[in-house]
Every structure is written in structure tokens, then in C-alpha cells.
Symmetry: C2
Subunit: 161 residues, 2 copies
DNA sequence: GATTTACAGGACCGAAATGGTCCGATATAG
DNA sequence: CTATATCGGACCATTTCGGTCCTGTAAATC
């Protein structure tokens, strides 16, 4: 478990496609839907949210569409998640000032925050550019994949809420 | 987002308490509920699932209760998640043989698997012993927390399903 | 062996989140 | 002015989640 929402999944798919095709041209929701075999309304919804989150830039009107707001290297998976479902927070209290009734008695508040940080940093380290790089996929299921966490994080845009 | 269920959150709290008090004695659901200020039925449910997952050992009958099935160092957070909500799988298709209709056309199947692996490995690296270690909490929100990923993973029990 | 204690397993239900669709408003190109 | 696309939100069916409760079984005590 610890699952991303489907919307976020779609977002990753769509952004990978935009990154792969080069960010030269902006593409509209219809084209992207056709390319990914997803329903147009869904694609539209996802792209809108990504634009609100600062991951995409939008062009309205005829011949409008979407394009990456930054180079693919600088857009992290954490930023995509942030735009579509809010900042990475494995528990409610990890997201910020908590309204948790166990505030005082909770013995794991601090370590859980660190744990959350580990996950968030890990996802901040993987960029859109990585996702379309065959060398990244070649890491497979091996524990070598943790090597990438030694790199400089993508440190991309942060989404609003 | 990317949130753990509350049940899993509770599980971490309960296991941390068991680990802290030493695994010498087994404690029952009522005592653990009292110590954590959680409802007894909820605590009971969580403990049962943790026992099914092999994280806890249970003793039935009078003077029964639960105790850690392994040393705290060898129980990873990933194992706890595995026992309570299934293996870490950030997307549906990351969990195993997918029934995803986009199987053929999906361009990010492989990189998403790697991404899933990164998260899973990161959580496999943090053990119950870490959660009750002040030095771990001291890492705070800094990116130093990624240092711990260089260590040998906890490699703990794997939960069924 | 009767009784009490405590886990095992699952049914159950209300509340909340999710996935997906659709609509009116607004901005832009031609 | 018209066609095209995004913007912002409402809307709803379905699923999931959080929590409770009940029946059965194992173990200890007296």
C-alpha cells in the first residue's frame, strides 16, 4: 500500500510524455488524452491541477495547451505529488500543525516526522528526466536503486498546499 | 499526501511502545490501549493483524498478550506497513501482476517500478529500534536524514500479502 | 472441569475520500 | 465574431476507511 491516487498516477504518465516529446511545443488535453488512452475529462482535470501547482504552464484559447514550467531535470516526483494531492505526509500530523488529540502523549511524533522526511526527500531526488531515462529503469528491483538518493535532489517547484 | 492509514499509524505507535518497554514481557491489548489512549477495539484489531503478519507473536488465554516476534532492529517500518495494509506499492501495478488496461501502452511502467522500489527500500531501512532512538529523531527535517539510507536495511519479516 | 481471561476471525455500518463527468465562464487565435 | 481550450467548480456513484461488535477458541487458575 502507501498508494498514490490514480490522478497522481495519470499525472506522472502525462508529464513523462510531455517531457519525452520535448517541451518545445505545448500540447492540449485532447492530444495528450489520445496519446495515453485516457478519457479527455480526466486528463483535463489532471493537467489543470498540475498547472495550478506550478508544474505546468498553460496557454488558453485557440492553439492553447500545456507545457512544462521547468526543465524536466528540475521537476521532482515529490513536486508532482504535491501539486495533485498535497505535500507528502505519511501521517496527518506530519503535514504541519496537527489537531491530533494525542499530541501530548504521542511517543513517536518526532521519529515519524523523520520518517516522513526520508520518504519526501527520496521522492524529491527523482526527477521527470529520470523517469524517461532508460538507465533509471534499468535499476530494476535491486537495492541499487538507493544509490540515486546520494545525488543532488531535483529540488523542484513546490506546490501550493 | 501519500498517507499511511490510521491503522498503520496506530501500529507504529503500539510497536514503538512494545519495543521501548523491552520485549521481555508480553502485554495485552487492554494495557497497550491504556498506555496509548486509544480505544481497546482498535488496538485489538491492529495487534491481531500485526500478529497475522508475523511482526508480533501472540499468546492466547489468561495472562496472554503480544510480544515482538523479532528484535526491534530487525523489524522494519516496511514490514509493519506490509502487515497492516499490504506491501508498499505506490501504484496498483507496482504491487505485482497488474490488471491494468494500459499495460501495453504505458510508457512509465518500468520507471514507476523503480520509484516504488526506492520508497520501499527506504522504509525497509528504518527499523523499530530507530524509532525509539533519540539520535534518529534528532535528524529532524534536515536532508541529513537520507544518510541513514546508506546503512544496511533492517531486512525484517515479510508480511503475507 | 468450570470459570475467567484474552486472542482469532470476520461481519457490519456510517462517514469520508476517490474517480470520473459535466457545465458555464473566460481567454486567445484567426 | 467564431472556434478552440483552459479555468473553476459542482456533482454523484462507488469504494475505501475507521471503528465497533459478536462468536469461537486457547490457555491459565482455582
Amino acid at each position: 500500500m502507501l498508494r498514490l491516487s490514480k490522478l497522481t498516477d495519470y499525472g506522472i504518465v502525462l508529464l513523462a510524455r510531455l517531457a519525452r516529446d520535448g517541451s518545445r511545443e505545448s500540447r492540449n488535453a485532447r492530444e495528450l488524452a489520445a496519446g495515453t488512452e485516457l478519457p479527455v475529462p480526466v486528463v483535463s482535470k489532471v493537467l489543470k491541477q498540475l498547472a495550478r501547482g506550478g508544474v505546468l504552464e498553460s496557454q488558453r484559447g485557440a492553439r492553447g495547451g500545456y507545457s512544462l514550467a521547468l526543465p524536466a531535470q528540475r521537476i521532482s516526483v515529490a513536486a508532482v505529488i504535491g501539486a495533485l494531492e498535497g505535500p507528502v505526509a505519511i501521517t496527518e500530523c506530519a503535514s504541519g500543525p496537527s489537531v491530533c488529540s494525542h499530541e501530548g502523549t504521542c511517543a513517536v511524533r518526532d521519529p515519524v516526522h523523520v520518517l516522513n522526511n526520508v520518504v519526501r526527500e527520496a521522492l524529491a531526488t527523482v526527477s521527470l528526466a529520470d523517469l524517461i531515462d532508460p538507465a533509471f529503469s534499468a535499476l530494476g528491483d535491486t537495492s541499487e536503486s538507493l544509490q540515486i538518493l546520494g545525488r543532488t535532489p531535483a529540488r523542484a517547484v513546490v506546490a501550493p498546499e
